[in-house]
């Protein structure tokens, strides 16, 4: 009797082992997959080119940073009129607070916009050149959808509410990066780059002046 029982147990174990093995080599779907939500996939829709703009931006510094933002929207009263709970002698019931905590990894590109160079900014005499560069600026702030990480989300956040939090996160990123003196560094690098370019262009005496940024 015991021998038959052991035989059946081993047989069941073996069958289970074979199933697990087949799942490992992906010949069978795993048990977890049967009750797993299927990912929502977007359709491959067309990409439409709306604008093509010519640029002349000299990008000299990229700053990377990670910022966290926490936003709480307090739940309002269930009653439209604040007098109602008092009149009915019931507690002022409120909706649950909504909370969204986002982590954003972004990058900021800084440099000078050479499209702002005017004829007055360039002075050439023989083999000497003098140039006044436009003031350095933040050219792009990049936090793409893949750069956000939702750490906590409670309550129902509308598209507009979530977007407002992302915009706050972007502002926070800009403030953080500006504290690293990114604009001064961008101006210094632009000066160096332009001096090298002008020297390579055959000028013997090169003077590049940067315009200080006013913050």
């Amino acid at each position: 009797m015991r021998k038959i029982f052991t035989k059946y147990v081993v047989l069941v174990l073996l069958v289970l082992a074979v199933i697990v093995l087949f799942q490992r080599i992906q010949w069978l779907p795993s048990f977890g997959d049967w009750f797993k939500s299927k990912p929502v996939e977007i359709e491959n829709t067309a990409i439409v080119i709306k604008e093509i703009n010519a640029l002349a931006q000299l990008i000299t510094v990229t700053a990377y940073n990670e910022v966290v933002i926490e936003e709480v929207i307090k739940g309002g009263s269930l009653f439209n009129n604040p007098v109602v709970p008092t009149l009915l002698n019931v507690p002022d019931l409120k909706y649950v607070n909504k909370k969204l905590v986002l982590v954003g990894k972004g990058k900021i590109l800084a440099g000078v916009d050479l499209a702002k160079l005017t004829d007055k900014d360039i002075f050439v005499k023989g083999d000497s050149v003098s140039m006044k560069l436009p003031k350095p600026m933040i050219l792009q702030v990049i936090i793409n959808p893949s750069d956000y990480d939702t750490f906590e989300e409670t309550g129902s956040w509308t598209d507009a509410e979530a977007r407002a939090v992302k915009l706050k996160l972007r502002d926070k990123l800009i403030i953080t990066v500006l504290r690293q003196n990114i604009l001064q560094k961008a101006a210094a690098k632009a000066k160096l780059l332009m001096e090298n370019f002008l020297t390579a262009s055959g000028f013997k005496k090169v003077t590049v002046i940067t315009t200080p940024n006013q913050l």
Binding site: K7, A17, I25, F35, S37, K38, V40, E41, I42, E43, N44, T45, I47, V48, I49, K50, E51, I52, A54, L55, A56, Q57, L58, I59, T60, V61, T62, A63, Y64, N65, G111, D119, I122, V124, V129, Q140, V141, I142, I143, N144, P145, S146, T150, E153, S156, D159, E161, A162, R163, L167, R170, Q180, K189, L193, N196, F197, A200, S201, G202, F203
Partner: protein
């Protein structure tokens, strides 16, 4: 006896189960990085994000969403890649070899992703912020994958040649010839 006989099979199964852990790569990023890029073109592209959540068999009811997404793609050239031997000057004549263009950035701003329509059945919950962001990530991946077909790199080279030509003209050169480095290939 039986265990002894089948122990290699069981051992193999245990080994298979234990060999699934992948080491997570640590991402290292410099806080400040110096660059030498001249951005010469910006493409503004739009895309409709269309999704229908009806694939899970045990969830009763559908959820549909339509969002519009706008991305700004920037391309240009690396100015530091111009070497002295790539510049040839003869009086008022200059010949310059520029490096091929490259993608500089793909920027999808939060304000450029807007929900246009959402339909949720009674037994389903509306899309969370995280789920909406997940759909936007897929759109971002599709945009990244189609960069090569947009012709942005070619436009970036044309604009770079035009800008450098005008710039050198301002510096007093009368005959300007601009080539692109044939050895290097454009990179996305």
């Amino acid at each position: 006896m039986f265990f002894k006989k089948y122990s290699p099979v069981l051992l193999l199964c245990v080994l298979c189960m234990s060999c699934n852990k992948k080491e997570k790569q640590l991402q290292q990023v410099m806080a400040l990085q110096q660059m030498n890029d001249l951005a010469t073109v910006e493409y503004v592209v739009t895309k409709i994000i269309k999704a229908n959540d009806n694939k899970t068999w045990y969830k009763i009811g559908d959820r549909k969403i339509l969002m519009s997404c706008k991305a700004t793609l920037t391309a240009g050239i690396d100015l530091a890649a111009i070497k002295p031997e790539q510049v040839n000057i003869e009086g008022k004549r200059i010949t310059l070899t520029l490096p091929h263009s490259k993608m500089i950035s793909v920027n999808i701003k939060p304000e450029d992703i807007t929900e246009a329509y959402e339909s949720v059945d009674v037994l389903r919950q509306s899309f969370t912020s995280q789920e909406r962001n997940g759909l936007a990530i897929q759109a971002e991946q599709q945009i990244n994958a189609s960069i090569g077909e947009l012709g942005i790199l070619q436009t970036a080279e044309t604009n770079a040649a035009l800008f450098v030509n005008n710039f050198l003209h301002r510096l007093g050169y009368e005959t300007i010839k601009i080539n692109f480095d044939n050895l290097a290939t454009p990179k996305n």
